[in-house]
Amino acid sequence: MPCALLGDRASGKTTFLGLLYSAQVKYGTGVHDDFRFHAPMASLNIMSAVYEGMKDARFPSATLKEEITELSFIFGYLRKVQGKLPYYIRQQNWSKPFSTLRFSAYDVSGEDIEEFIESGIASRPLIQQLLKSVVVVVLVDCSKMTTDIDTAPYKKMLRYDSTVAKLLVAFQTYKKQEYDRLKDSGVNPEAPMIYPAFVLSKFDTLRDDVLARLGLHQGFPEDKRARKEYAEALLRVFVPQTLSQIRGGKVAGVSMDKAAYFLSWVRTETQEGMEPVGQPRIVRTGFRPEGGGEPDFSYDEYVNFIEHFRHIANKIPDEILEAEKFQAQSLVRPN
């Protein structure tokens, strides 16, 4: 299942992926053993470099960021029934204990996608793959949220809202075109659906005056409904075009109603009364029995994010799973 990750320049895309990898490592080695993941060599090389850097208190370097065009992980979720079976049966391959899905994140420009929608020709093969995404993860940089209308961040956020709205409509348009094409060719496809996931990145930088103006309290709520309301209160103000296109997806025949919201933060070193000089450094946790020396970040949110895909995996239309299976088989088939 391809997953598109959309984010503005410096919105924290690579950091998000690095922290996701960190969370996967920790969650996948937990005592519950109901989540496992695998990364192809190319992705592993990059992510382990990012991970190493973060464990050394460094944010991803610009050089590393440039190397990323596609990153993929295979998530494996222990099936519910399997969890109840004895350990030695679970370990048998024939029992297929884990349901798997591929999480791929692409870094492509909006222009590339527009070119494909308008001309039907993709100069980069990734584009077509990207538009097949069922999950669209949108990073919204909280450090650019300001109510001061004469500032550069306000204008940047306006521009970002337009960009994301356009990209989402591009996804909708592609899905609808594909749906109509399948229907015309006699296939009975399921109604197209996109699962948007918003990640409020750099949440710790959200300014108090912004929260006060919006009537929001500090800290993200726990309750699912309250989380949605909290996040949407922010999005309605800072990315209204994006939100309106998500809500209007059904009108276009591509439902995008099931949006999920997550937040991301990573603590950085500060010295009281002093402005940080140079690159900020990541605060690391102390060593404990369950692990340590890791970035101090919103781990629970990342676990929620990973778990979110478990639910989506059960809802993916059959034709997409079939297409994925076919693609996987063609990759292993010798020429």
């Binding site: 337009s162 356009k166 209160a233 075009q241 309106s244 296109q245 209007g248």
Partner: protein, 306 residues
């Protein structure tokens, strides 16, 4: 699909009107209240988002923006409850999930095409073809050019525009004499209404605020009192009850205003932004008028479908 042609004089505020219409859509479409949902066609997005950004940054459309924007295609949907203000989109039994496509088109300045209309050009292609084919003719009347009723026979500031609208109606009748849509719905938008001269209002013995959009008759009387001395030929055409095709439906009237603030010395005025209901910002404009207009368009779309 409902085709709406936005027609106006030079600098009457056509592009600003379209931008504010989109702002009203975004504001309501992102709202938790499930009254209105919309989807913008991919082809329209580049230009309309650029225009929106400009208005939200306090700028009026510049010449490049005006040149670039020609249409806005939106799909309007009634909320899932079917009780929203666009509920008329659906059947009488309930409108949940009902939707309609509206294509707003900006053919250009009327003075550029009026001569062609007079000479009997057919405009078989090009942007003005949309105006000839439109279901709705959205006619902008720049309120800053409204003049009080005068005794002397000198033509007023809107006399030329009046003649051009008349030529457009003639061209539409000629174009659709043998086919095409049966009805044209004229909708007048009095743009820049916050800048109407007080003398014009007092000469017509009118209050500064027009009657509510929910009262179409008093509102029409109000608007006609202002437009009659300025667009007499146009209003006379609307009163004609002959059997000529297409039939002209009863005209509706809306009032657009956007408050401005002075720009830096030597710079043009800027759009004033106000705090929106959710803590953000939005242009200080007559949002309710735009929502009422959208509601009216949804009504027309439902009538056209029936």
């Amino acid at each position: 699909m409902l085709l709406v042609a936005i027609v106006g004089d030079r600098d009457s505020g056509k592009t600003t009107f379209l931008g504010l219409l989109y702002a009203a859509l975004v504001s309501s479409g992102s709202d938790k209240e499930d009254d209105l949902r919309f989807h913008v066609a991919y082809e329209s997005l580049d230009e309309i988002t650029a225009l929106y950004q400009r208005l939200m940054s306090g700028g009026f459309p510049d010449s490049a923006t005006k040149e670039g924007i020609h249409e806005l295609r939106v799909e309007l949907g009634a909320g899932s409850s079917g009780h929203g203000f666009l509920s008329r989109l659906g059947s009488r039994k309930g409108a949940a999930g009902a939707s309609t496509t509206i294509r707003f088109t900006l053919p250009g300045n009327l003075d550029e095409a009026a001569q062609g209309f007079d000479q009997g050009s057919t405009f078989g292609t090009g942007p003005w073809r949309d105006a000839l084919d439109a279901d709705v003719l959205l006619l902008l009347a720049d309120s800053t050019k409204l003049a009080p009723k005068a005794e002397d026979p000198e033509p007023g500031p809107m006399a030329t525009y009046d003649g051009q609208i008349d030529s457009l109606f003639t061209a539409i009748r000629r174009w659709r004499a043998r086919g095409g849509r049966d009805v044209v719905h004229p909708v007048f938008v009095l743009s820049k209404f916050d800048s109407v001269a007080p003398a014009v209002l007092s000469a017509a013995e009118l209050e500064p605020t027009p009657p509510d959009a929910s009262k179409p008759s008093p509102r029409a009387a109000y608007a006609k009192a202002l437009l009659d001395p300025n667009l007499p030929r146009t209003l006379a055409t609307l009163r004609e009850t002959g059997k000529a095709r297409p039939r002209l439906a009863e005209a509706r009237f809306f009032f657009s205003s956007v408050h401005t603030k002075a720009g830096a010395p030597g710079q043009p005025a800027k759009v004033k932004l106000r705090g929106g209901g959710h803590g953000g910002w939005e242009p200080d404009y007559s949002k309710d008028e735009y929502l009422a207009l959208l509601e009216r368009l949804a009504e027309i779309a439902a009538e056209t479908k029936a």
